[in-house]
């Protein structure tokens, strides 16, 4: 299957703290018609990894949990986001999607166009994902990645995996389903106002079908209602 005929990339970096998994991913990437280049850690800083990847490859497939093998102290989501931010196609592949969507992946989701559950990461999907990532880098967002300015309410505040998290309702997406995000996504100048019942405005990709695909950026405090608007 020559899936790379319409795709100019050739060398794809494999970023994974598990050597065996990196080998499996390499085989899949090779089957897709690319040349896999397995990166060897450790990397203390994400910028060092970004430099290493950019000097050796033209795209990257990145695992999310990089700490267990001592590969890095940052997540794959952060690494992927940093790569995409500099115009480098990168996708995230993880077997911990369900556990990590709401917090450690959400934190970087605006710059992570594609998150593939590992069970779905076959040659065709990886190729499609890299193509879609490249398109988004070029400004061609898929409809479910188009952000819209929306208003949301904080309905709960708690902790998950040691991180402060907020549960919010975004009526323009779904008024019956709360979405969880790490409170550190809220800019520090607003964070003390991030209490239950508070209203915020942010850009959110409300055409996403799944909560896991939602990202948030450009936060603002929602203005208080005008007491004279006649709706009180």
């Amino acid at each position: 299957m020559t899936v790379t005929q319409d795709f100019a990339l050739r060398d794809v970096a494999i970023i994974d703290d598990d050597a065996n998994q990196a080998l499996v991913t390499s085989e899949i990437v090779s089957h897709a018609g690319f040349n896999p280049i397995v990166l060897e850690g450790p990397f203390k800083k994400v910028d060092k990894l970004v430099t290493a990847v950019r000097t050796r490859a033209q795209a990257a497939v990145c695992d999310h949990r990089l700490r267990y093998g001592g590969f890095a102290d940052f997540t794959g989501a952060e690494a992927t986001a940093k790569l995409v931010s500099v115009g480098f196609p990168a996708i995230l592949v993880t077997q911990f999607a369900e556990q990590d969507y709401d917090v450690s992946i959400r934190r970087w989701r605006d710059k992570v166009p594609i998150v593939l559950p590992r069970a779905e990461a076959d040659a065709q999907r990886i190729t499609q994902a890299l193509v879609q990532c490249q398109a988004e880098i070029q400004g061609k967002h898929a409809p479910d990645r188009q952000p819209h300015r929306v208003i949301f309410e904080i309905v709960d505040r708690s902790a998950e995996a040691g991180e402060d998290v907020l549960d919010v309702i975004i009526p323009e997406w779904d008024s019956d389903t709360a979405v969880r995000l790490p409170s550190r996504l809220i800019p520090s100048r607003f964070r003390r106002k991030a209490k239950i019942g508070a209203l915020f405005i942010a850009d959110v990709n409300i055409e996403a079908q799944q909560s896991s695909d939602l990202f948030f950026e450009n936060f603002e405090l929602a203005p208080p209602p005008d007491p004279n608007d006649g709706l009180g």
Binding site: Q146, V150, E172, S175, I201, I206, E207, P224, D229, L231
Partner: protein
């Protein structure tokens, strides 16, 4: 000669949204959540909306208003809405979004009250509010009407009659339930229109018998075309009893669901369909459109609905041969 007004009823999934363009005048009837409305406005090159008429404050009718108010590219002049007595989360957010929009457009006005005897005139069109009556609106959600019927938010849905070139074209029924319908009939016994956007997306009308509700509504309106603005798989709409009631009253009417109901087909078509109007439609994302987005216009005194309804009928025959709309009463 000035072109006549045109209405577009959008496939927004479970919800309602229609845009009426009459020369330069733009009116929106309801704004379901999601970005189909915004995409539609972009596609039509519309950045200014003269008036938005919100039938009631349920999220599938008003959720998109938040998006429009917060969109810095869109400028709105007037909004008409009936007050929501519950004043819950949605209402609070609406007020905050309104405050945000007014920072950009200080002239934006929101009018509390969309009741019978109000009307909105355009160059070639007229929108009349047939319900709720001022008396029902005054009682508000949670009250009882003069007959002891409990008034809910759905009971207070604004029902709007669109006329184009002095021809009754379409009746927009929002989510009106049986109590609201009975009150409507007391004021307007025969709200005739060749096109009806059926109440509540074809779902149950409160506690009333759905078959009788649909029959009574269609007997009064006598539509040629019945539109169900629904989302595939959402609340199992349209309810089969509703369709039976429609068929009993108007057996020859063309039934057009915006999306393909799960009652009609277990799966969506495998290939892209070709009968749809070239307009934004939420069902396109999953190839779940049935009739999709629809246009309503008047030519030489005749109300026409696009796309070609015969093509729609052919689509149903080929892709959903056991569809609810194909069953007789």
């Amino acid at each position: 000669m000035m072109a006549s007004a045109e209405a577009i009823v959008f496939d927004v999934g479970h919800g309602n949204c229609a845009i009426i363009r009459d020369d330069a005048l733009v009116t929106l009837i309801d704004a379901a959540r999601g970005n189909t409305v915004v995409r539609a406005l972009q596609r039509l090159g519309i950045t200014a909306i003269d008036r938005i008429l919100i039938s009631h404050a349920d999220n599938d009718h008003v959720g998109g208003l938040l998006t429009l108010l917060l969109d810095r590219r869109i400028h709105i002049r007037d909004i008409y809405v009936n007050s929501d007595a519950e004043k819950g989360r949605a209402w609070r957010m609406l007020r905050s979004a309104l405050a945000d929009a007014r920072r950009r457009d200080p002239q934006l006005q929101i009018h509390v009250g969309l009741t019978m005897d109000m009307s909105f005139q355009g160059a070639t069109s007229r929108i009349e509010v047939l319900a709720p009556s001022p008396e029902v609106a005054m009682g508000g959600v949670g009250s009882t009407d003069l007959h002891g019927r409990r008034i809910t938010a759905n009971s207070m849905s604004a029902v709007l009659l669109l006329s184009i070139d002095n021809v009754s074209a379409a009746l927009f029924c929002a989510d009106i339930d049986d109590a609201g319908l009975r009150n409507l009939f007391e004021e307007v016994p025969q709200p005739r229109a060749p096109v009806v956007v059926f109440p509540h997306h074809g779902g149950l009308p409160g506690r009333a018998d759905p078959e009788a509700f649909a029959r009574d509504l269609c007997n009064a309106v006598q539509p040629r075309i019945v539109i169900f603005s629904l989302g595939r798989g959402v609340h199992d709409n349209p309810h089969p009893a509703i369709i039976r009631g429609v068929r009993q009253a108007v057996p020859g009417a063309h039934i057009a669901c915006t999306q393909l109901s799960t009652h009609c087909s277990a799966s969506v078509p495998a290939v892209a369909v070709s009968h749809l109007l070239d307009a934004p439609a939420k069902g396109l994302l999953r190839n779940a459109c049935c009739a999709g987005t629809l246009s309503i216009r008047v030519e030489k005194g005749v109300v026409l609905v696009g796309p070609d309804l015969r093509s729609h009928a052919t689509f149903v025959t080929r892709n959903a041969p056991t569809a609810l709309c194909r069953a007789t009463a």
